[in-house]
Structures are given as structure tokens and as C-alpha cells.
Symmetry: C2
Subunit: 453 residues, 2 copies
């Protein structure tokens, strides 16, 4: 339990609405809910002086167990700091408090005719601050980049309560070290993000979607380069599904009618976002026709209506359904495109040794990002650690990344060394020690507390 | 003079080719030229132990006096480490040693059918390492981003000789802190960049260029948003010239025939890079026609041949010619688009108070980046400090950046506070102290040595 005197002072600072007890079996029972950057700063000063650790809460998607294994932390939620402060249509920027929900911000921008490019499954619960802290990826990275690429400015509060305000709105600004980069993707371990300036883009006027099939992986990788070269900057999705994915999702009795036969080696959802509804559709069809003539693809179905587009995306997005087969581990890894076939073959060989197993492979192939769902139809034999060990050993073998877009949290902490050298890790520890010497900010995430003691 | 024993050991380490005396009135006379990362590491260990400062040399463009005011440094040139190690056409990456000249790397990529997106005037002398160290911008930022956005991986040697190898080739990699970001744009003060992995793009197949005129600044800023929204991701240049620029460059007796009359308020070079030579030209003309109908532009000339395109770009690029008018100061600043008219009006009002003055305004408006050339036709009254003071006071007033793309170096050191708060500066000092406690790496750049003593 936190120190009684500290709690008393936090209650005085934050008021009744600012300190809530929300009992939970795994998460901290006490949640601090400041309403301003000043309150964040003051509460951090108090906690830092008392050595009281905090775990910042975003949307709590928890894909890397970021909230589990807490020991004595207070939770810090910015849900009351959720204001959309400015949508600047001339400079095309959004200034927003960190607690704002991604979807709320995106819809507000859309109403003003602008696109907030980040989009991901958890859009309805994820916060902008969480998206920055985890350098979120999602559905349109191939076109607009990760969250890091969209952030122009940040306001961050350091562990000692120092407010670092770098709310830059300019695209070019080379004035000394780019401090915001230190905090993006640091998973809340170096500072608490309180405000963000996001670069907005014009709203696309056309969206063209197809599901295509490739006969071998060489064609898949050539198709990626070829489409990127022939769609003039509009390619926004290149989502690859292995037959294990496609066959299961579109199986008899499932919710989906298979738009293409089920016996192709690779299925790819391709999408472009353009500015000319009339000509873009025609052009999209022509480009896919050429890909067919060049034998890059062996089959294709182009969405001719909004409902057909949704039907294709729903196949790609129907990920939760797999888990009905039995307990599983979900992986979010990267390997370079040339290594993907051997990596997937390695996963197959490994899973062949696991009894009563099932496997699903899919991913944002345009970004080198694969997701794997590996599980057991017989719950009794499920061994998560064994599955993780098997996969991360392969990731290390192929020089890949144990976390493409979800971060490290607690779940991947022990596997960080597969993708990062001791020298790199030591630099991370030094940074953590410099900015958070008492280790109060999200301790034990990314690396364990003893590394920075 | 450096310590004799240190020099002896450096000569033993680097050999005859690795230590050269190149007398120069302003720059260090002794240049170290290592041929490998290992040599860079060893020489840094020696210099760090001896407290011997170093100034890393790139292409020596020197736009922010990065090489002047040296006091006892040894120069460190990576010109012998200039190998193009790999052009990976499948993953579309370039792995290159830091001393490689930008143009050499770009041409090698082009031969393999790929685009190295960074392009700038000094392409024939600037090195990739220098481009990373300064987070270079240039001609295509609006389409492909700054150098930071193109770097996938880095190898850096720290002041104490530690080699940090983060030669990542994957687009998505959220495994702990993104260390490379610390060194990009740090102007060689935190580490010596030895190797870089650059993300490549498909070579554009079409290039459409026009010079357009706008009647007022409101139209200019609306045109930027409108073109971005209506060219489907292909807009690559939006270069604005004020009449002071256009009229002088195309004056009677100049090298250039004015493609448009000389009495418009704003001239803009617009360019798109697309993938469909046939339809893109038609589309470009149609979009500009619509802009004319919507009264965003009042006149336009579209390049119909490669020589017409060159003629337009040569007007934009004929910057050195201005300096024939007399001594001048060159500025590289950013302000948000909404503030540009007031900022330029402020510069005009200020320059009206300067006797025998001339002024030129132009810039990468799509990136908020203005360049100013302010000088005196009468050399006797030229007062560079006064001009700098006048401009940076205006930059601070409008919340702008004293360096958009050239960095701080020595020239802008005293003005960094116009764009950065004391809190931000203190964080920079702390980082410098952590990574280079003896202050041997490019001391006195960005901030003076006493700040980190």
C-alpha cells in the first residue's frame, strides 16, 4: 500500500475526482486522474520524492501485459485530460491532450476535412498518449508511417515533475536534439506524455481494395515492390494471409463467403487511397490487370462496393475467431521480406513438433510485420513459454524484431536480447537512469528494475 | 597542438594514410582518416583518454560555420570509409559507410532501379554521414520526409569508443528505445556515425513541373492544401518565390527568360512525382486547370519538356547570383504557414530600416521552411549581427525555428534560445554529459563547452 501521508497529499492535490479506488484483481486499485499538466507535474514531484512508482494507463489494450505484475504502483490515467485543443486546418495539425481516444480525435479531424493517419483495431479505446508511448503502427503504415512519423510536437512531464514543452507544429525544425524522439516508443518509462501535436493529411477521396492470390512467395515480394512503384504513392495496405488464415476464416459455417478459392498459397489484401474517385478505380483495375499479365498474381477480386470492401476487410480483421480453437500465444514480429519464407517454414517445422497444435500466419507484409497465432486445440498441452521460446529463437536467427508494433511491456522483456545487443541495452539503461533515477515511471517494463538500480 | 605521445599512438593505429597534415587557415591542420569502424573506435578511445577534442568532417558545406572557431581539435574525416556495402533490391534498403558522397550513393541506387529520396544542392560533396548528423532536408521533403524519416539503421561510435550497432533494415521495430533517433540531427556531438541503412523507394516514372502565380498569400496557403489533397500523394515540391526573388533572377541581362510576367505577388514551383507517364501529365494539367477555375492561381506555365523543366528549376536554384549584389547573411528558418505573411512583413519593415539593403525571400513552403538572403549593396554598412538579431527576434515572436534544415553549428548557437526553452536546453546538456562526459566530440557546436562542463 502506498504511504498514507503521500496518499493524503495526493488527495489534497487532485481532489475527489482525481483519486479513485477501482478494485481489480491484477491492476492497481488506486487510480490517479489528474485534470491538467500542472497536476501531473505536482503529483510526479510527490511520488518521486516518496519513491512511489506509477504505471501510466492508456487504453489498456494490454497486448504485451503492460499492466500485469504490478507491485505497489499507483495507476496514472489521463482520461480527464482528453480535450481536442486545436484542429488547425491551415497548418494541418491536431493539438490534443494525451487522454483523448484515437477514434474521437480521428472523427473530429475528419469533420474538418482532414485525416489523422493512424488507424488500428483498438481505435475505440486506445488513447493518443498511449499511441505515442508505444509508437503505434496499424493499418496504414505503408502509406503514412508509424505514430513516430506523425508526431510534430510533444509535452512530456519527467519523473521529477519537470514539464518539457516541445509543442512544435512545423515540419522542419533542426534546433538541437529532437527531444520528442526520446519519449516516443519508450512505453511511459521516461516521462508522462500530456499533450501531442499530430501532423494531419488530406482526407483521401478514393479507396480501392482487392483481394489477390499469389502462386509463390517470390511473386508476393515482387508484387509489393511492383505495386509500390506503379500506384504513385497511394498504396496504403498490403496485408498478407497464409492459407492457414484464409482457409479457417472462410471455412464452411464461418461468417465469411470466400471471395477467392481456398487453395492458393498466398492471399493479399491490397488497398490504395487516392484523390480521384473516377480515374483511381479504373487505374487500380488496370494495374492489377498488368500484375496478372506479368504473372505476379494468379487470381484477384476487386471490391465493387462499400459492402464488398467491408467483406474483404472483415476476413482480414477476423482474428479473434482463431482463438476459439484453443489457448494460444499471439506474436507481433518483424523479419525482412527476404527471410519471411524461411522464417515461416521454421515456424511450421517447430509447430509440427508441438502436439495438438494450430497455427495462423498473417501480417502487414509491406512493413515486414508478421503476426502469428500459435496455440493448442487441447488446452492441457498448451505451453506458452515453449511457444515463445521457439518463435523468438527463430526471430533471432533471422535477425528480426521481437516486437514490430506492440512494444515490449512485460511479456517480451526476457526476449529483448534476441533483437538488441548488450551495448544497445546498456544505453537504454543509462537513459532510464538519467531521466528517472528513482525508477518510478512504469518500472519493470521493457527491462526489469534491477537493470537500472 | 595535440599531445605528441597521442599523435604517435594515432599514427601507429591509423598508418601513413590515416593521419594527414592539410594546413588550412581556419580548420584543423591534422586530419584523421580511419578506414574502419574498429579504427574509429580505437582512435576515440585514445582521444577520450587524452581529452583530445575532434571535429567530424562531412562534405564541409559549412552553412552554419560548423568548422570555424576550432581550437585544438583534430579533424575526423570518414572519406576512406565510403563504401556502398549493399543495395538490397528486395527489401529496398541501402547500407552504406558514412563517408560516401550522397550523389554517388543516389546514382548507385538509381542504377538498381531505386530512389534514394534525399536530394539537395550539395549532393556532389555532402556525405551520407553528414546528412544523418544534420538531419538534412532538401528538395523532396514534402513527399519523402527529412533524412530522419529515411534512416532505418545506424552504426555509431560513442566518445569512449563503444560501437553501437543498430543496423536495422525493418520498417517496424519497437524493441525498446529507438537509439538511432538520439544521434540523427545531433551534429556529431553525441557519437560518430560510421554506417547507415537508408530506406529506398521506387524510382518515379513521371515528373510534372509547373511555375504558377498566386494573387495573395491566402491563395498560396490554400493552394498547398488543395494540391496535396488532389494529387494523391505525388506532390513533391512546393517552392515559393517572392517577387524580390523572381524579379531579380529573371531581370534583363540575367541568364533566365521569365516564364511568367514579373508583377505577380507570389510564384510557386510545383512538382509531382508519379508512376504513370501518360496519364500523370494530363492529370497534372487538369488539376492546375481546376486550381485556376477556383481562383487559387492566376497564371501558370507547365513544363512541356525536360529543358523547360530545367529552366524553371534553374530559376529556383539560382541562389548564388543574389550574393553578387553585396555581402549578405543567409537564413534558414521555419514558421507555421499562417504566420508567414506577418513574418515576411516584419522582415520587410526591419530591412526598410537598414541602409543600402537588399532582401530575397523564398523557401520550401510545403515544409514551413523559408530561406532569406539579406544583405547590403554597400559593403561598408554590412552588419551581419544586426541582421541576425533582427530576423531571429521575429522568428521568436512568431514561435518559429531558427534552423529548419541546416542545423545550429556555431552560427546559430547564440540564437538557439529563440526556439528552445531553458528546460529543453538543459535536457540537451544532460544528454551530452551522459554520452560525452569529456566533451571531445565536436565541442562548442549547438551549445558552448561551458554548458556541459
Amino acid at each position: 500500500m502506498p504511504d498514507a501521508e503521500l496518499m493524503q497529499r495526493l488527495r489534497e492535490l487532485l481532489g475527489d475526482k482525481g483519486v479513485r479506488e477501482e478494485p481489480h484483481p491484477d491492476w492497481p486499485d488506486i487510480v490517479l486522474k489528474p485534470e491538467s499538466t500542472e497536476q501531473v507535474s505536482e503529483l510526479l514531484k510527490l511520488c518521486n520524492a516518496a519513491g512511489q512508482p506509477l504505471v501510466p494507463w492508456g487504453g489498456k489494450t494490454c497486448l504485451v501485459d503492460g499492466l500485469n505484475e504490478t507491485c505497489g504502483e499507483l495507476a496514472l490515467s489521463l482520461e480527464r485530460m482528453n480535450a481536442i485543443e486545436e484542429i488547425d486546418t491551415l497548418n494541418r495539425t491536431l493539438t490534443v491532450q494525451a487522454g483523448c481516444i484515437l477514434q474521437v480525435a480521428a472523427e473530429a479531424c475528419e469533420e474538418r476535412g482532414l485525416l489523422l493517419p493512424l488507424d488500428l483495431g483498438a481505435r475505440g479505446s486506445a488513447t493518443i498518449g498511449g499511441n505515442v508511448a508505444t509508437n503505434a503502427g496499424g493499418n496504414r503504415v505503408i502509406r503514412y508511417g508509424m505514430m513516430r512519423d506523425l508526431v510534430l510536437g510533444l509535452e512530456v512531464v519527467l519523473a521529477d515533475g519537470t514539464v518539457v514543452s516541445s509543442l512544435n507544429k512545423m515540419i522542419k525544425n533542426n534546433t538541437g536534439y529532437d527531444l520528442k524522439q526520446w519519449f516516443i516508443g519508450a512505453e511511459g518509462t521516461l516521462g508522462v506524455i500530456t499533450r501531442v501535436v499530430v501532423r494531419l493529411r488530406p482526407l483521401p477521396q478514393s479507396q480501392n481494395t482487392a483481394l489477390v492470390a499469389c502462386g509463390d512467395f517470390g511473386s508476393v515480394s515482387r508484387l509489393l515492390g511492383w505495386l509500390d512503384a506503379n500506384t504513385g504513392g497511394t498504396l496504403s495496405a498490403f496485408e498478407c494471409m497464409w492459407p492457414s488464415f484464409y482457409q479457417y476464416v472462410t471455412r464452411e459455417g464461418s461468417l465469411h463467403t470466400p471471395p477467392l478459392p481456398q487453395d492458393y498459397p498466398y492471399y493479399i489484401l491490397v488497398e490504395t487511397l487516392g484523390s480521384r474517385p473516377e480515374s483511381d478505380a479504373e487505374e487500380f483495375e488496370r494495374v492489377l490487370g498488368e500484375a496478372f499479365e506479368q504473372e505476379l498474381i494468379v487470381d484477384a477480386v476487386i471490391a465493387k462496393s462499400e459492402s464488398e470492401r467491408h467483406a474483404i476487410w472483415e476476413i482480414r480483421d477476423d482474428v479473434l475467431g482463431f482463438m476459439a480453437q484453443g489457448p494460444c500465444a499471439i506474436f507481433d514480429i518483424s523479419v525482412t521480406v527476404d527471410h519471411i519464407p524461411d522464417f515461416v517454414a521454421g515456424v511450421d517445422a517447430f509447430m509440427d513438433t508441438v502436439p495438438d497444435s494450430y497455427r495462423v500466419v498473417f501480417g502487414h507484409l509491406g512493413d515486414c510485420n508478421l503476426h502469428l497465432i500459435l496455440g493448442n486445440t487441447n488446452p492441457v498441452v498448451f505451453d506458452k513459454q515453449k511457444l515463445e521460446h521457439g518463435v523468438y529463437e527463430l526471430v533471432e536467427k533471422f535477425g528480426g524484431s521481437v516486437s514490430a508494433e506492440h512494444g515490449i511491456g512485460i511479456m517480451k522483456r526476457d526476449h529483448l536480447g534476441c533483437s538488441r545487443s548488450d551495448t544497445e541495452l546498456e544505453l537504454m539503461y543509462r537513459m532510464k537512469r538519467m531521466l528517472d533515477p528513482n525508477n518510478i515511471l512504469n518500472p519493470n517494463k521493457i527491462f526489469t528494475a534491477d537493470k537500472v538500480a
